[in-house]
Symmetry: D2
Subunit: 436 residues, 4 copies
C-alpha cells in the first residue's frame, strides 16, 4: 500500500513518440535494444535523492517553496521520505538511485548518533531495495552543508574536521557497501577556498590526497568492488574548488599516484561552469582513461551558477552520449539525474514529469548517438582527416625516431610547405543534424 | 644616431612619487633595493616585440590603425623596426625583450628562406644587444598566424605541418640560444580545437607530447641552459586550447613524464579567461613546482576575450608579486609585458607612456608585496590558522599512520565535534589594504 | 555562363528529410505552406555579403585562410565577387541578400571616389538582381573598419568624422533605395567606448541621436518605404556599445522621440553576448512594439566573443521562430544569415553546405514553432496561468481604479493570503520537446 | 547599558593612515572637509540591516554558520536584534541604516499580524533613532523571500499576490515615512522569469508599471519627500529580471511615463552581473538624469553570482566616486553597504572589521576622486578631445541645422577626410594612478 503522495499513479508506461500523455514515455523503452544492449542497461538511470526528496525549493533569496509531509522531522519522517522515494523509483521504472548520508537520515547530536541513524535507515533502504528491485548506483557523504565543514572537509585548517570527515566517509562507504552500491563518489564542495589570503594550497592538497588515499585503502580493505569516483566542479559554493575540472583532477591524481584507482563522475552543469562543453569533459576523461559515470542535468547558459535543471536539449545530449558510447559505455557508472525541479514546480506530479522529460531526452540522445556510431557518420571523416599520420614516415616521427634537427633538415631538403585543408565543421554539424 | 621615431626623448628618468611628468617613473627605480635585491633584478622587465612593434592595431572589426614606418616591407624594414625597438628598450631602461620569429623577420617563400631571414635578423639583434646591453628574456616560435597552422601546429592532422612546426621551433631555439635567451617559450595558440566533431583528442595529445619531448631533447643536445616554458591559455583563438590553465598543463606534463623539464609562463589575461585570478595561477604553479615566468598584463573583466591591456590595478598586482616572492622570486623568468596599446593609442609617445605606467605599477606592487612578506603580515595569521596540524596526532594522520576506520573509531571514542573558527577574510583584506 | 567558382553545382534541390545528399535541402521547401504562407515568404532568407564574400578567414591571431580569386583587387575584382555572390544566391535559392558599402566596392582615395565606386557597383548589382530575381533585404554602411572610425562614427569626438559618417550613410541609403532594399540597418560597432576616462557619454548620446534623426528625416525625404532598423550589440569590438541590447536601444529611442520610427534587427549572437537568450530579445522587442528583422546565427556558449557561427540547434531555433510567429511574422524583415564559415572551412563547397545546414535548421524550427502555435500548445497553459487577472476586481486593480491604501485595506479585510501555484516549467519543456 | 554583543568596544576612532589597529579608521574621518563638505556628508554611509543582522551565513550548499542570540525568535528577539544593530551603528559612527520589513519583524500568520509586528518594531526603531541620532537612509519591502512571492510580486500571475504585495509596500512606505527615511527603494528580485514558456512579458510589464504608479501616487498622497528608487539587477534569483540594468529601467520608466518620478539605486555587484562596470552604471544614470543612491559592495569577478562582498579595491572605488561627484554628489541618496560577511567570518568582531575596511576604502576613493575633480585631471583632456564640437559648424550640425544630404554635399565639396587622433587611454590611466 502506497503513501498516496503521487495519487493513484502506479507506473509510467512507454507509449511511443506520438503519445501526448504527459505521464508516459515517448522514447524511453527499457527493453528496446540499441547497439546490442537493452536501453535500460545502456542508460542505467538513477534518481538523485537530495534534489528530489531533501531539497526544499530554497535559493539565496528565498526559503522553502515545496511542501512535503516528511519535512522537519526525525526518523519517522526519514522513513516516510524513503517510502515516497522508492515509490517514485518504481513509478518511473528507474533502476537506480544515489544518496548522501545527510539526505536520508536525521543529523544526530554526536557523530555516533548520526552514524547510528544512518545505519537504521540503511537497513530500511535494504528492505526497500529488496522489495522493489531498485539498486544503488552510488553513495556519498555530505561534507559541505553542516557548519562544521564551512572551511572544508579534508582540506580544513582544523585536523578535527579532517577526522570528522574521515569518519563520515567511512560510515558512508560502509552504507554503500551494505546496499550493494556500484560506485562511491566524492564531491568536494568546500574543498577549495574563498580567498587565497587565508589559504595554504600546498598543505590542503596534501590533506586532500591523504583522504583520497585512505578512501582507496579502505575500499580494498572491505572488498568494495565498485569504483571510487571524484566529481569535478570549478566553483560554487566556494570561489575556487580544487577539483576544478577533469584535467585538474587528473593532474592531482597523477601527482599523488592515484590515477589508477579513481575515476570521474562528470556533470553537465559543472562542465559548463568550468568553461567547457559536457562532451569535452567526457572526451577528455576517456582520453585520460578515467571516465566513470555521469551526472545528467543542464545548466542555464545565461546564469552564472549551477542551475541543475533537468536536461532537455536533445542535440546536445546526443553529443554527450556519443562520447559515452565511444568510451565503451558505462561499466559501473550510469546516468544520475543530478537535477532539481525549478522551485516554482511545487506539485508532486512535477517530480514525475521532470524525470519523464529527462529520461525521454536521454533515450532520444542515446539512440541518435548509437546510429551515428553504427553508421560511422563522424568516425569515417575523422579517420580520413588524420590519414596522413598512418604513413610510415609520420609514424616514425610520432614514435620519436627523429629529433627536432633531423626533422628540420628534412623540411628543408624536401621543401615541405603544407597547404591547409578544410576542417569541414559545418559539413559535420549538418551530419549530426541528420541524426537528431 | 637614432631613428627619430620617439623624437628627442632619450631616457625615462626616475623622479619619485610626486612627479607629474608623464615621461618619468614615479616608483620604478631600478637600483632601489627591495628585500636585499635591486628592483631591476627582482622585476626583470621585458618588452614584447609583437605587441609593440608587429601588431598594427587591428581587431575583428577593423584593420590597422597604427602608422609605423616599418610596415609592409622586407629586410630593410625589419631592421628599421629593430632599430626603433632597441631604442625603446634603452629609453625605458627595460633590461629584456621577447620575440617570435614572425615578429622580427620577413616570411620567406620557403622554410629555408624564412630560416635564413631569421638568422640575418638574429645577427642584427646580436649586435644591438651588444651595443645596448639589452638581453633576451625569451624567444618563441609563431605557430599560429600563418594559414598553414590554421588546424594546429604539433596537433595538426597533417604530419607535414607537424614537421614544419618542428623545424620552425628548432630555428627559434637556435636563435634564442645564439642571443643568450634565458628561456624558451611555447604557446599553443592553435593547439586545441574548434569542434570535437573533427578532432581526435587522444592523437593530438600524443602529437603535442612528442613535440615537447623533442624540444626538451634538443635543449639538452645544444646545451641550452634556460628553462623551457609552456604558456597556458584556455581559449582564443580556438574554442578550446589544450594548455587550458596551469592545472591542465601540469596533468599533461605528468602524463608524458615532462614535469621536471618544463615550467610555466603565466599570463594575467589568460588566468582571467580560464576563470581564475592571476594569483591563483601563480600560487598553483608554485605549489606544483613549475613556476617559471610571468606575462604581465590585464584583461578587461567585462570583455570575454584577451584584451592584453597594460596593467594598472596596483592592489591586484601586489597580490601577484606576493605570490612571486613567496615562490622565491624569478630565477630565469621575469616580467614580460604581454600588453598592447589600445588601438586608438596611435602616437609613438603612447608606447612609452603605456610601458611607464605598467612598470610603475609593477614597482608599486612589488614594494607592497615585499613589505607584506617582510612583516609576515599574511604569513603569521596563516600559520596560526593551520596551527592545529602541527600537533603530533594530526601529523600522524597526515602522514598516513591511521586508516579511515581507525580515525572513525577515534572520532567516536573522543566524541570529536569540531566548532568552526572564523576565516577572517575581511580582516586579511584590510591588512592588505594597509600595504597598497 | 558562370564563374566556375562552385564547379558545376547549379541548384540545391529539396529532397526531403531522408536525403543524405549534403548538397540538398532536407526541410527547406520554399513552396511548402506553413500556417497559410509559403515557407519562403515566412523565412525570407538573406545571405550576408560580408561574411561570405568579404571576410578572409582572419582572427586576432592569424590572417587570411581563404583563397578567393577576388581578393586584393579593384573594381574588376569587386565585380567578380558580385558574380560569384549572385551565383551562390541562385544556387541556394536565397531570395535576399544584405551588404555594407565596404563589402562591395573598393575604397576610394576620397569620399567622392568611394561614393562613385559604390554607385558603379550598385548599377552592377541592379542588373544582377534583375537577371536573377534576387532582392535586397537591407543595406547598411560600414562605419567601423576604416581607421578613421576607430573612435566612433556618429559618436566620434571629431565632428569631421561625424560628417564623413553622415555622408557615408546617405550614399548607402541611396544605394539601398535604388536597389529596392526593404530595410536600412544601422549597427554601431564603434558607437561606444573603450574607456570612460576619455568619453563624454552625454555628448555622444546627443550626437548619435542627431544622426538617427537625420537618417529618419532623409528616409522620408527620399520616400524610402522600408524600415529603419538598429541592431543592438553589447560589446565587441569596443568595451561597451551604446546599442547594448533591445531594452537599451528602446530607452534611447524613447529619450529622443524615435520609438515610432525605428525598429530592431536582432541577432542571436548579440543576444547571447548581452546575457540574454535570443527568444528573450525577440519577445521583448515584440512587447515594446519594435520588432523588425533577425540576424540568424549562433554564438558558442563557451566563447566570450561573437563567433557568428551558422545556427544548428533546432530546439533553440524553434523557440526563436515561435516568438517571430507570435509577433506576427516578418513584414519588411527577414532571416539574414549573419554567419561566417569557420576559418578552417576553406573550400567553396563549405559556403554552400553551411547555408544549407542553416536554412534547413530554420525550416525545421519554423515548422515546429508553427505547430506549437496552431495547437495552442504553449498558449493555452499560459492563458490558464494568468486567468485570475481576467476577473473584474483584478482588472480594476490593473487599470488603476484602486490606490495602494485601498488595496491594503482590502487585503486585511478579506485576509488575502495567496497560496503559490506550480509554474510547471518542466511540463512546458516536455511539451516543446514534442514538437522539436 | 549595551547588549555586550561586541564586548567592550564602544567607538571606532579615526587614527590616521599609519594606524595598525584593526579597530580604527585610517582614512574615514567624518569631519574632514573634502571639496567643501564634511566627509560624512559626502559619503552618507548606511548599514544594511539584512546582511549584517538577518542573514545567517547560508549558501546554496550549506545552512547557517553564524550563531547570533536573536535567531529563531519572535518579537523579543527582534528587539534584541535591533539593540545590537543600533549599537553597531553607534560603534561604527554610521549615520544611516536601511531595512526590509522582513529583516526587522517576525512574520505574522496573516497580513494584518505582519503589519502590526512591523508597526511595533518601527516604534522601537523610532526610539532607538532618537537615542542614537542614527537615521534611516531608506526602507523597502521584502517581496521575494516568502514562498507566496515565488512567481513574482507585482508581476505575479495571481492578482492576489499583486494585492498582497501592494499592501506590503504600503506598510513599508508608512514605516519609512514614520522613521523619517530619506528614500524608498524597490528591488524586484522576483519580478522577472525563470522561463519564457510560462511568462507573458507584456502583461507583467503592465502589472509592474501599475504598481510603480501606485507607489508614486501614494508617496504624493502621504507627503513623503524622499526619492522613490528602483534598484536594477539583471538576474539572480531569477533567470531574467525586468530591472536588468540602468538602461533597461530607464526605458521602462519612459514607456510608462515615470521617468521624472523614479531614480536609481545602483549596486556595484549588480552592475558587474549585467556586464558593466560600476562607473558605467553611475555615469549612465547621471546622463539620463536618474542617479539616486548607491549600494556599495564588490562582486567577485570569477564568480557568476552576486557575492555581495565588502568593497576593497580603492582604484575601482575612486572611479565610482568620481562619477558620483561628477553627478553632483548625493542629495537624498548615500552609500549603503549592501555587503555581507563571508560565511566563514563568524565572529562579532568580523562585522565591525568588514565595515571599517569598507568605509576606509570609500574614504580613500572619495578623496582621490575629489582631487581628480579639483585638478581637472580628467576633465581637461576630455574637453580637449571634444574641442572640435565647439566650433560653430559642428554645433549647427549637432543642433539639426543640416540634413544628411547637405552634410554629404559638404564632405565632398571640402574633401573632408579626417585623420584619427590618439585616444590616449594609457596616458589617462596613468593619471588616475597618480591619485589612487
Amino acid at each position: 500500500m502506497g503513501t498516496g503522495f503521487f495519487g493513484t499513479i502506479e507506473k509510467i508506461p512507454f507509449k511511443g513518440a506520438d503519445s501526448t500523455d504527459p505521464l508516459s514515455y515517448r522514447f524511453y523503452d527499457p527493453d528496446e535494444v540499441v547497439m546490442g544492449k537493452r536501453m535500460e542497461d545502456h542508460l542505467r538511470f538513477a534518481v538523485a535523492y537530495w534534489h528530489s526528496f531533501a531539497w526544499e525549493g530554497g535559493d539565496p533569496f528565498g526559503g522553502r517553496t515545496f511542501d512535503r509531509p516528511w519535512y522537519d522531522g526525525e526518523m519517522d519522517k526519514a522513513k516516510l521520505k524513503a517510502d515516497v522515494a522508492f515509490e517514485m523509483f518504481k513509478i518511473l521504472g528507474a533502476p537506480y538511485y544515489c544518496f548522501h548520508d545527510a539526505d536520508v537520515r536525521p543529523e544526530g547530536r554526536t557523530f555516533a548518533e548520526s552514524r547510528k541513524n544512518l545505519e537504521e535507515i540503511v537497513d530500511y533502504f535494504a528492505r526497500k531495495q529488496e522489495e522493489t528491485g531498485v539498486k544503488l548506483l552510488w553513495g556519498t557523504a555530505n561534507l559541505f552543508s553542516n557548519r562544521r565543514f564551512m572551511s572544508g572537509a579534508s582540506t580544513n585548517p582544523d585536523p578535527d574536521v579532517f577526522a570528522y570527515s574521515a569518519a563520515t566517509i567511512k560510515s558512508c562507504m560502509d552504507a554503500t557497501m551494505k546496499l550493494g552500491g556500484e560506485n562511491y563518489v566524492l564531491w568536494g564542495g568546500r574543498e577549495g577556498y574563498e580567498t587565497l589570503l587565508n589559504t595554504d594550497m600546498s598543505r590542503e592538497f596534501d590533506q586532500m590526497a591523504r583522504m583520497l588515499h585512505m578512501v582507496v585503502d579502505y575500499k580494498h580493505k572491505i572488498g568494495f568492488k565498485g569504483a571510487i569516483l571524484v566529481e569535478p566542479k570549478p566553483q560554487e559554493p566556494t570561489k575556487h574548488q580544487y577539483d576544478f575540472d577533469v584535467a585538474t583532477v587528473y593532474g592531482f591524481l597523477r601527482k599523488y599516484g592515484l590515477e589508477n584507482e579513481v575515476k570521474m563522475n562528470i556533470e553537465q552543469g559543472h562542465a559548463i561552469l568550468a568553461g567547457h562543453t559536457f562532451e569535452h569533459e567526457l572526451a577528455l576523461a576517456s582520453t585520460l582513461g578515467i571516465f566513470g559515470s555521469i551526472d545528467m542535468n543542464r545548466n542555464d547558459y545565461q546564469s552564472g551558477w549551477d542551475t541543475d535543471q533537468f536536461p532537455n536539449n536533445v542535440p546536445e545530449m546526443a553529443l554527450a552520449y556519443y562520447q559515452v558510447l565511444k568510451a565503451g559505455g558505462f561499466t559501473t557508472g550510469g546516468t544520475n539525474f543530478d537535477a532539481k525541479l525549478r522551485r516554482q514546480s511545487i506539485d508532486p506530479e512535477d517530480l514525475l514529469i521532470a524525470h519523464i522529460g529527462g529520461m525521454d531526452c536521454c533515450a532520444r540522445g542515446l539512440k541518435a548517438a548509437a546510429r551515428m556510431v553504427e553508421d560511422g557518420a563522424l568516425q569515417k571523416p575523422l579517420d580520413e582527416r588524420y590519414a596522413g599520420w598512418a604513413k610510415p614516415e609520420a609514424q616514425k616521427m610520432l614514435k620519436g625516431e627523429y629529433s627536432l634537427d633531423q626533422i628540420a633538415e628534412k623540411v628543408e631538403r624536401d621543401n615541405i610547405n603544407p597547404e591547409p585543408r578544410s576542417g569541414r565543421q559545418e559539413y559535420l554539424e549538418n551530419i549530426v543534424n541528420r541524426y537528431v
